[in-house]
Point group: C2
Chain length 308, copies 2
Amino acid sequence: MSLLVVGSVAFDSVKTPFGEAEEILGGSATYFSTAASYFTEVNLVAVVGEDFPSQHVNFLKSRGINTDGLEKQDGKTFRWKGEYGYQLNEAQTLETHLNVFESFKPLLPQSYRDSEGVFLANINPELQTDVLNQVTSPKIIACDTMNFWISGKRDALLKTLEHVDILIINDGEARQLAMEANLVKAARIIRSYGPKHLIIKRGEYGALMFNSQSIFAAPAYPLENVFDPTGAGDSFAGGFMGYLLNTRNFSESNMRQAVIFGSVMASFVVEDFSLNRIKTLDYNEIHNRYREFKQLTHFEESAEIFRQ
Amino acid sequence: MSLLVVGSVAFDSVKTPFGEAEEILGGSATYFSTAASYFTEVNLVAVVGEDFPSQHVNFLKSRGINTDGLEKQDGKTFRWKGEYGYQLNEAQTLETHLNVFESFKPLLPQSYRDSEGVFLANINPELQTDVLNQVTSPKIIACDTMNFWISGKRDALLKTLEHVDILIINDGEARQLAMEANLVKAARIIRSYGPKHLIIKRGEYGALMFNSQSIFAAPAYPLENVFDPTGAGDSFAGGFMGYLLNTRNFSESNMRQAVIFGSVMASFVVEDFSLNRIKTLDYNEIHNRYREFKQLTHFEESAEIFRQ
């Protein structure tokens, strides 16, 4: 099953306590498609400038990602510059230059319109709806957003959410969107906006998935060397959606496994700058880390204990 | 198996966004013993003032807690006053009056000296060692501490830790004690000080247990109504140690179950002020919540997935 993603392809300049790198390949759609490419066909929709080198396009193609929807426009590619402190939980954005991304109007190639899965990365919710309108009969739609759209384009965002099956956001965004501090209550409010499933990303603390039947809590993998957290959330979404499309099974139990595959991909991406760590993963590494998540969380059913 | 705890018995005045209460029963040893009392015999060591009402002593006795080691001294009982914001993660301490606790020199009743489990709640590490020296042949020793002792009595604390099997602290304390920001590295450093097992409490994010064989990640129970987080950490420790003493099994697998029973007790205590919620739990509630933790974290082993 093919998986469409619309989002950013960018050059990032990143500083962490462990090193810095200039103008490295980044962007939500880049991280998402690379992570998803281990599981399914990906149709990438994004825009870059004339300065975007063919080596990056070739890399995406080498991962079997369809780049027919990667528009090249006059101007420069989106650039982001950020810095992380020792806590590594949230980047301080130093510069954002939207460049060609500013006037981006995603137009889907004909061959993308029958995509069965859709991931709307964090872009203007009006564009998210535009993209959805161009997909003929998607089987599953997931979406991300951020504080900027929640406060600035709330109505457009709520309109998008009516058509979304799975919303994947962080805890601060969930509280802001629901206007409720308690996450259990916030989840109920957000699910009333449309998404049957809500996944709340909590960085080093893992993820929570809420649906009508249950709550699922997944930890993050306790890494000894977190090098650069950039792209963790989009790689999570890529592993999650990639696995769902691979298995064509949207049951609650399979969605839990998808959350773990998402967590696996996120745990790899933060081990190095840019996509370096997930450029050339082999399936043994992916499956082994999945098993490590199982080990990390497993405990036995309990016999009923009474005071002796 | 009997479980000795030394710590504070106090009057707390607490303000949360949901209400406030004055001079309610609190203290680390109170929360610990009440939680543990569902699982095993508890020998309580603490000090109170003349103002401590017999109704509170009677409550502890009603839970089958041995209060022979609860000294009554001239003076007033330890008092703490704190306030929580909407995040409910950390209290702002407004007032601390040590009162009779200031000159506390724990002397164990003869009948306590053969206790098989020991929990040294957060007190001066010199007193922790004094207490350990009075126990004949403990089978398992756990301990808590705080930033005040880590910075102010580091050498005494390291001396205590040489004799401790399980250290139970929060993430900030672990980073401070190890002088290392990364928790995986911090755990290795702390375990080199003596404790074979390190449990890091992360409040609403659950707990991590590190030992030589593995890391175990347990979530917190996602509660819709967290009323007052006071005592959550000590109730966690009480459920954890109580279960271990009940089962007399210190295997890694059983310690994972103990972490879940600790999390169960902590999830109850925060639902109301003081010990109100855990005063009269029944075993069905405890076992049901354990099962809910299993549901919350369960996912299937994965078939090996490749791109199709």
